[in-house]
Assembly symmetry: C2
Homo-oligomer: 224 residues x 2
């Protein structure tokens, strides 16, 4: 049985869950507490952070670690809904965007906003407003870039649905849960996100709830 160790508001974990749903591959999900991971989880991977996948294959039990590695592992498991479609230069562009949003966006935006807000709810106190301000400014720049891409290409990496859509939407969905995305200023991005979030693979994520934080009304609304 395939098991994913995840945290519901972790962008990479969300991306992995969407990938397996797109592939129609069953996944047992075990929620872990990234602030106090238990020993079973810590023993799985030197990374000590989710997402971590365990799988039983013919040759025995395997552990797959990290968003990109797990998503491509899922993609190679089944030919249904190819997540890196096209020629090799098109796959390279998808991987570039996965890296841009999975690493750079994560570093410049999510790393400044998500832990601040989640830890404030968890531990009390007030968030670091400088970090929030910086993260929000970077978010605006990234939304402008996403809008520019969509204008050029009728899709993030082109017209086809790809892993780049999944990873980018997974990141934005965490910020959206926290009411951080001003969609009205970015209508092209809003249209694109609405298309992605309407996919059946995305729906279970919209039902996740974090104790102490209620998402805005539009969060789970497919026609927001």
């Amino acid at each position: 049985m395939r098991t994913l160790y995840h945290y519901p508001l972790h962008p990479g974990c969300r991306a992995v869950r969407i990938c397996f749903a797109e592939k129609k591959l069953k996944l047992r999900e075990i929620e872990i507490d990234p602030w106090e991971p238990d020993d079973t989880f810590l023993a799985l991977a030197v990374e000590e952070v989710p997402p971590v996948l365990t799988d039983r294959i013919q040759s025995g039990d395997v552990t797959i670690v990290g968003t990109q590695a797990i998503c491509e592992y899922a993609d190679e498991a089944s030919s249904r809904t190819p997540l890196l479609p096209g020629e090799r230069h098109e796959r390279a562009e998808i991987r570039r965007l996965c890296n841009w949003f999975g690493q750079r966006f994560d570093h410049e935006v999510n790393a400044l906003i998500l832990p601040e807000k989640l830890e404030t709810v968890r531990l009390g106190g007030t968030p670091d407003t400088t970090a929030l301000r910086e993260g929000r400014a970077a978010l605006r720049d990234h939304l402008v870039y996403i809008g520019w891409l969509l204008e050029q290409r009728d899709g993030l990496a082109g017209p086809a649905f790809t892993l780049a859509d999944i990873i980018t939407a997974a990141h934005l969905s965490c910020l959206d849960y926290l009411g951080e995305v001003n969609w009205r200023q970015f209508p092209l991005v809003q249209d694109w996100y609405q298309r992605i979030k309407s996919r059946p693979s995305f729906r279970p994520l919209l039902n996740d709830r974090i104790p102490g934080i209620r998402p805005p009304q539009h969060y789970a609304d497919l026609d927001f």
Copy 2:
């Protein structure tokens, strides 16, 4: 014609050069100054940092950006020396290690040591000793981990030569140029690095020289 925009002491750029050499694919190399990149380079990629590859294919000119994307693009270009060999769970482990060394090691070690030393030579002044101390402590931890992997597996990701070897060796080679790696404390890692650096694909890198910094005697020695 395939053209790589690179900086000689950038780990990702080195990894890309090794990949193309392993694949026996010709590559024109244009050195860029990461501190003062020119407009031609800046117009190529929103990332504004190397490595950036341009290629002419049947459908036109393409630009491929980022270490992992370019390395996998090279891998898919030719079946010679597969860089992600094996079953899909083995490829996932290679991608995990590429991510570990390409991102985490880069962040914890290279980001603290390389710019400090290179900018000191470039601009004068003295390096930030706190950053250097932190980077060196993290480097020791990572060398212990590499040694542990080699002990378990007779290779980083297993006995086969893979992209994980290339990316890890490329990172260590930059630190080695600066005399930062105490090989004697890590004999297994030294043996492995010696094997990798003896490959013909690695040789051209050992001839790179950065103005104002001479590498230690053992740097280009294949039998150090």
